[in-house]
Amino acid sequence: MGAAQRFKDAGFTALIALALAFPLLGFQTTDTGDGYITRFNWVAIATAAAFVVRLLLSLVPQRFRLHQYATRYTALPQGKIITLVAGALILFAILLPISPLGSRRTIDLATLALIYVILGWGLNIVVGLAGLLDLGYVAFYAVGAYSFALAAEWYGLSFWEMLPFAGLIASAAGFLLGLPVLRLRGDYLAIVTLGFGEIVRIVLNNWSPVTGGPNGIGDIPRPTVFGMPISPGAPEGVTTFNHFFGIAYDPLQRLIWLYYVCLAAALVINWFSLRIRRLPVGRAWEALREDEIACRALGLNPHTIKLTAFATGAMIGGFAGAMFAAKQGFISPESFNFQESATVLSIVVLGGMGSQLGVAIAAVILATLPEFGREFAQYRMLLFGAAMVAIMIWRPRGLFTVRAPSVRLDQP
C-alpha cells in the first residue's frame, strides 16, 4: 500500500468517526429537551484519534497483524501448565480466608466471584460445549434463587435441604423451555431465551403476592454447618456451631463458611463438567456443536442431546442461584436482569468457549473489576461489549485459549 493510499484510507476512517461522533458525542440535550451543550472538542479528539490509529494500523506489516496470528495460533499449551496453574489457583482459593488477605470485604467479593465462576461453568456447558447460545441464562439463576427463598419463607426449609431442589427446579424449567424451542435454529434459540429471561423477570416483578414484587424477599437463612447455625445465641434445643466447638462468635465465620461452601460446589461442578465431557453425552454435545448434520447422519438425536445440555446448564444455574440467595440474604428481580446474563455470557466468551480454566479466570476478573472504582464500573459494560466484538474478531477461541479437546487422536 502506498503512502497516498494509506492517508486516503485514514482520512476516510476519520470522516466516518466524525459522522459517528458528531451527533451523540457533540451534543447533549437537557433532560427536558429545552437546551443543549456542545462538546465539539471531544468530537475533534475522536476524529483525530481515528485518523492516527488507522494510519498506524496500516503501517503494521501484514505478518504481524493480530487476527491472522490469532486464528492460526490455536495450538494448545502443554497439559502440565494448565494443571499447574489450576492447582495454584485452587490452593490460593483454599488459603485465602486464613491468609492476611482474608478481610471481610475480600471474602465477600471472593464468594461472589466463585458464584460467577459456577455460573460461567454452567453456561459453558450450554454455549461452550453444546454450542447453544443462551441469552436468558439468568432466568435459571433466578429460578434457583427464588425457589430457595420461597421454600425457606413458606416451609422453613434450610439451605441444605433446598439446594438439590433449587437445581432440580431450575433444571425442570430448562427442560420445559428447551422442549419446544431447542428444535429451532441457533439464532432463534438466542432470541427466545432472551425473551424467556425477560418473561421471568417481568413475572417476578409483578406477581407481588408470591414473589414480593420489586421489594423482593428477605430474611433468607444462611447455610448451617452440618445442622448447626453459626450465631451468637440459639433458641432452645439447637446447638450452635460456636457452642459445639467452643469458639467465640464472629460474623466473619459465616462469610468464611459460605465461601468454602461455594468453593466446594465450584470444585464439584468443575469435576462434573470435566468428567461429563468424556461420557457419550458430553462427546455428543461437542460433536453437535461442530456439525449438527453429521451428528444426525450418525444416528444421534440432536434434540435430546441439546435438551440434556440445556437442562444440565440450567441446573448449575439453579445451584448458583441458591448460593447467591444464601449469600445476599435478600433477593429482588433487580439482580436478574439482562445485564447479568450478558455478564455471564461475556465471561464464557472471554474465557474461551469450552475452556474450564479460562472461564474461571475470566469470571474472577470480571467479578472483581467493579471494585476498582466507580468510574471504572461505569465503563464496565461498555468494555464488555467492545471486548466481545474484539474477541470474536481476533481470538474467537477466547482470551486465554487453554481449551484442551476432550477427545484427541494422538499422533502415531
Partner: protein, 304 residues
Amino acid sequence: MGYFVQQLVNGLTLGAIYALIAIGYTMVYGIVGMINFAHGEIFMIGAFISLIFFVVLGALGITWIPLALFLVLVIAMALTAVYGWAVERIAYRRLRGSFRLAPLISAIGMSIFLQNYVLLVQGAHEKTLPPMITGGFELMRSSGFTVDISWLQLIIVGVTLVLMAVFTAVIQLTSLGRAQRASEQDMTMAALLGIDVDRTISLTFVIGAALAAVAGLMVTLQYGVIDFFIGFLAGIKAFTAAVLGGIGSLPGAVLGGLLIGLIEAFWSAYCPSEYKDVAVFAVLILVLMFRPTGLLGRPEVEKV
C-alpha cells in the same frame, strides 16, 4: 365499540413503527442469515439523533414544523445509516465464514456497547421532547366514546406507507435490488457473476438503519420520551414481528409489525398491561413452535 376502534388506531400506529424496524432485521437475515442484535440499538440511536436535532434546530430558530421535520428526517436517516454501516464493517464483515456463533456473539457485544455508549454520552435519565405536532380530528363517536386520530398518527402511518412503497420499488426495480436478491440466494455465485457482495451487504445495513432511524423519529414524536434502553424491547418486538411475518420476507415484516402493534395495543387495553411484553414474547415462542417459517415465509432448506 368506540374503545375498540381507538385501540385499533393506536395499534396500527405502533405497528407501523415496529414494521419499520422489522424490515431491517428481515433484510439482514435474508442476505447474511444472521440476527442483527444491534439493530434495536440502531433504532435507539436514531431516536436520540432525532431528538438532539429537534432541539438544535429549535435553538437555531428553525421552528416551522414541516421544515424542521423534513430536516430532522434527512439528518437522522443519514447519520444513523453511518452507524449501521460502521456496525457491519467493524463487527460483522470480518466474521463471515467464521464459526456459527461468532457473528451472533459479536452482534450482542455490539448491542451492549452501543447501549452503554449512549448511556455514557447522553446520560441515564429519560429525555423528553415537548410535543411538536398536536391536534387531530374526531373519527367517530359511539356509545359515549370518541375515537380520535391525531395528525401525528396519520403522518406516522403515511410516512411508513410511502417508505415501504419506495423501498419495495428499490428492491424490485433497481440494479441494487437485483444484486441484493441475487446475494440473498447464493452469495458465492453472485460474487462470481460480478456482484460486489460486500458492497451489497453494506447497503442492506445502511437501508435498514435508515428505516430504523425513521422509526426512532416517529417514537420520539409520538411518545416524547426516550432513554438509552428503548432499543432493547423495541428490538425484540420488531424481531418477533419479522419472525411472525416470516423472516426474509418484506411484506411479512410489515404484516408482522402491524400484528404485533395490534396485539400489544389490545392486550394493554383489555388485559393487565404490565404483562404486555410477556404476551409479545409468548407470541414469538408460539410462532416459532408451530410455524417457524412465519405467515409469509418460505420454508428453509438446510444445505450441507
